[in-house]
C-alpha cells in the first residue's frame, strides 16, 4: 500500500483515537490506585503528556543549545566563548544583528503606529468591519505568500523597458529611473520590513480596536461637551487608556521582528546586506555545518527575548492578582 495512504489513515483515525483514549486510560489506571492517593496522582497523569512534550521539545533543547554553544563544530570539544566572539567580530553576522535592530524599531513602529491610526479611523466609518477585514486578511497568508506578492510589487526592469512592478511603474511615470528595491542597501531591508508590516498591521489594529471600543463613550463625550478638540481628547484620554494595550502589542511585534526569517529567506536569501539573525543561524547550521555557531546565535536570540518575557510574565501575574 502507498505509504502516503497509510499516513493519511493514521492522521484521520489514529491520532484522534489515541488522544481521546488517553483520558479513559488514565481513569482506568487510577482505579488501581488506593482511593486516598487518587486525588494526588490524577493531576499529574492529566498533565503528563503536556509536560513530556514541553520537556522534550522546549526545555531540554534549550539547555542543550546553551551547552552546544560553547562547543566546536563537531559538538565534542569545549571552545569557551569562541562562537560568541565569532558572532560579535564577523562582519557578516554583525550586519545581521544590525538589520535585526532596524527590523525591531521599524516593524514595531510601522505596525503599532499604523494599527493605531487605522483602528481610530475605521471606528468612525459605517463599513468598519469590511475595512478591518481587508487590513486583517494578509495575516491568513503565509510569509512565503506575502513575499511572492511583494516580489511583484518590487519588480525591476532595466530603464527603457516597460516596468512590470507597480512601484517602479509609478517611479517611471514620475520620470525617474527605476529603482532596484531588493538589491540596494539599506533600502532593501526597509522594503522587506514593509512586507512584514503589511502582514502584521492588521493584527495590531484588531487588538487596539478592541481596546478602543472598551473606552467609555461617556468619558469621551463629556470631554467634547467641555470643549476639548479631537486631538486633545486623544492625547488626554484615548491614548493614556490605550497605553497598556500598546505595550502588549509592541512586545509581540518586537519578538516577531527578532525572529524574522521567512520573508528574508524567500526574497533575498540574506544577500545584498539584508541578512537577519534567524537566517544567519540557518546558514551556519546547514550551509556552513557549524552547529556550535548556530547554537550561539540561538542563545543570543534567547537572551534578547528574555527581558520581554519578564515583562510579559509580570503583566500576567498582575492580571491574576486583579482577578
Amino acid at each position: 500500500m502507498d505509504p502516503r495512504l497509510i499516513t493519511a489513515i493514521i492522521v484521520l483515525v489514529g491520532v484522534p483515537a489515541t488522544v481521546i483514549g488517553y483520558v479513559f486510560l488514565v481513569e482506568q489506571v487510577l482505579r488501581l490506585v488506593p482511593g486516598k492517593r487518587q486525588a494526588a496522582v490524577r493531576p499529574w497523569l492529566w498533565l503528563l503528556p503536556a509536560l513530556l512534550f514541553l520537556f522534550v521539545f522546549l526545555v531540554y533543547p534549550t539547555i542543550n543549545t546553551i551547552v552546544l554553544s560553547f562547543e566546536n563544530k563537531f559538538q565534542k570539544e569545549f571552545v569557551g566563548l569562541d562562537n560568541y566572539v565569532y558572532f560579535f567580530t564577523n562582519p557578516n553576522t554583525l550586519i545581521s544583528l544590525r538589520n535585526n535592530i532596524i527590523w525591531l524599531v521599524l516593524l514595531t513602529f510601522l505596525t503599532v503606529g499604523g494599527g493605531l491610526i487605522i483602528a481610530i479611523l475605521v471606528d468612525r466609518v459605517r463599513y468598519e468591519s469590511i475595512a478591518k477585514s481587508v487590513v486583517f486578511v494578509p495575516l491568513a497568508i503565509s510569509f512565503v505568500g506575502a513575499a511572492i506578492i511583494w516580489k511583484f510589487m518590487y519588480d525591476y526592469q532595466p530603464p527603457g523597458h516597460p516596468q512590470t512592478g507597480l512601484l517602479n511603474a509609478g517611479v517611471a511615470a514620475l520620470g525617474f529611473p527605476p529603482i532596484t528595491w531588493i538589491q540596494d542597501a539599506p533600502l532593501n531591508t526597509i522594503a522587506l520590513i514593509i512586507v512584514a508590516a503589511w502582514t502584521w498591521t492588521g493584527f495590531c489594529m484588531v487588538i487596539l480596536s478592541a481596546a478602543l471600543k472598551g473606552i467609555s463613550a461617556e468619558l469621551l463625550e463629556a470631554a467634547r461637551v467641555d470643549g476639548a478638540t479631537e486631538i486633545q481628547v486623544f492625547r488626554a484620554i484615548t491614548f493614556p487608556l490605550l497605553l497598556p494595550t500598546v505595550a502588549v502589542v509592541s512586545t509581540t511585534m518586537i519578538i516577531t521582528a527578532l525572529k524574522a526569517f521567512d520573508i528574508v529567506y524567500v526574497m533575498t536569501s540574506g544577500n545584498y546586506d539584508t541578512n537577519v539573525i534567524a537566517n544567519q543561524m540557518y546558514k551556519e547550521l546547514f550551509t556552513n555545518s557549524q552547529p556550535g555557531r548556530a547554537s550561539a546565535i540561538a542563545v543570543i536570540l534567547l537572551l534578547l527575548i528574555i527581558p520581554i518575557m519578564a515583562i510579559n510574565i509580570r503583566r500576567f501575574r498582575q492580571q491574576e492578582a486583579i482577578r
Partner: protein
C-alpha cells in the same frame, strides 16, 4: 442632551455627531478607502497576473491586463498542478497540518482542565513556568532536536513518512504553551457550580471533561484551532528544519513555493499560480471562521 447620560452611549450617537461636519467626513472616507486599496492592491495584482499568459507577465505590468484586449488563461494553474508537484505538496500540507493541530490542542485541553479544576502542590508556579516557555524562540531548539530526531538519534527524519511524525511532535511542543495559556484562562472562567454539582451527581473527571469542560470551551477551542491551523499551514522554518529542502516528495506548500521562488529557473507565472494555491485554504478558513479568530487573538493578547 439627556441621552448622553445613558450608560454605554451607542455608536449611532457618536457617528451622527460627526455627520454634522461633511467636509471632514469626505476626507475621512477618502483616507479609509485609500488604506483599503493599499492593502488589497498587492494581492489583487498577483491574482490578475496568475491568470495572464507567461509572455504577457514578463513584458507588461498586471494592470495592463485589466484593459482590453482581454487575454486571460488558466494555463498557469494547469501547468503548476500537473508538473510542479503542487498537488502532492497540497496533500503533504494537509498531512502535516491536521495532526499538528489536533494533538497540541487535545494535550493542552487535558493540562488546562487539570490546572483549572484540580488542586495539587505547585500548581501556580508550574503554570507560570509554562507561560515562561511561550517566548523561547523555535531557533533555540533546532540543533538538539536535529541531533535527537536525525541520523545521530532515533532516525525519524529523512525521505520517509517519519519526517511527518517529527513535524507533528515538534509543532505540538511549540504550540503547547500558548494553547495551555489560552484554554486554562477560558476553562478557569467557567462557572464553578456546574462542575461541583456534576461531581455531587457522581460524574468522574473524564465525564466532566468531555461533557462539560470541552463543550463549554468551544469558542476558545475554535479560536485555537484556527490559530494553530494557520500557523502550521503557513510555517516554513520548522518544515525546512525537519523535512529538509532535499526531500522533494515530502515538501509542504510553503517549501514548494519557496523553492520555486529561490530557484534560478524564473518560471514566474508558475510561481504566482502556486502562491495562490497555497493561500486558498487559509483564506477560506479565515473567512469562514474570522469571528472566532479575532476573538481568540484579542482574548489572548488583551484580556490574558
Amino acid at each position: 442632551m439627556t441621552a448622553l447620560s445613558v450608560p454605554g452611549l451607542s455608536a449611532a450617537t457618536r457617528s451622527s455627531r460627526r455627520r454634522s461636519r461633511p467636509s471632514r467626513r469626505v476626507v475621512l472616507n477618502v483616507v479609509v478607502i485609500a488604506i483599503m486599496a493599499l492593502w488589497l492592491l498587492p494581492t489583487f495584482g498577483l491574482l490578475v497576473n496568475s491568470v495572464r499568459p507567461a509572455q504577457a507577465v514578463a513584458s507588461s505590468g498586471w494592470w495592463t491586463g485589466l484593459f482590453p484586449p482581454y487575454n486571460f488563461t488558466l494555463e498557469n494553474y494547469q501547468q503548476v498542478l500537473s508538473r510542479g508537484g503542487m498537488s502532492q505538496a497540497f496533500v503533504n500540507s494537509l498531512l502535516i497540518t491536521i495532526p499538528s493541530t489536533i494533538i497540541p490542542i487535545a494535550v493542552a485541553a487535558f493540562a488546562a482542565y487539570a490546572f483549572s479544576w484540580m488542586k495539587f502542590p505547585g500548581r501556580d508556579i508550574l503554570f507560570v513556568a509554562i507561560i515562561g516557555l511561550l517566548v523561547i524562540p523555535l531557533q533555540t531548539t533546532f540543533v538538539p532536536l536535529l541531533n535527537l530526531l536525525g541520523p545521530k538519534g532515533i532516525h525519524l527524519l529523512g525521505a520517509g513518512p517519519g519526517a511527518f511524525v517529527a513535524v507533528w511532535l515538534a509543532h505540538t511542543g511549540y504550540g503547547l504553551p500558548f494553547a495551555i495559556y489560552l484554554l486554562r484562562n477560558y476553562m478557569g472562567g467557567l462557572p464553578r457550580e456546574v462542575f461541583e454539582s456534576a461531581s455531587i451527581d457522581g460524574a468522574g473527571h473524564a465525564t466532566a471533561f468531555f461533557r462539560l469542560a470541552i463543550p463549554m470551551s468551544v469558542p476558545a477551542i475554535a479560536a485555537l484551532v484556527i490559530f494553530q491551523f494557520l500557523f502550521v499551514w503557513n510555517d516554513l522554518l520548522v518544515a525546512l528544519m525537519f523535512i529538509g529542502a532535499a526531500n522533494a516528495p515530502n515538501l509542504p506548500l510553503t517549501m514548494a513555493v519557496a523553492s520555486l521562488a529561490t530557484s534560478l529557473g524564473g518560471d514566474w507565472q508558475l510561481l504566482m499560480a502556486a502562491a495562490f494555491i497555497s493561500m486558498a485554504l487559509p483564506l477560506i478558513v479565515f473567512f469562514a471562521l474570522q469571528r472566532y479568530f479575532v476573538r481568540g487573538i484579542t482574548g489572548g493578547a488583551v484580556k490574558g
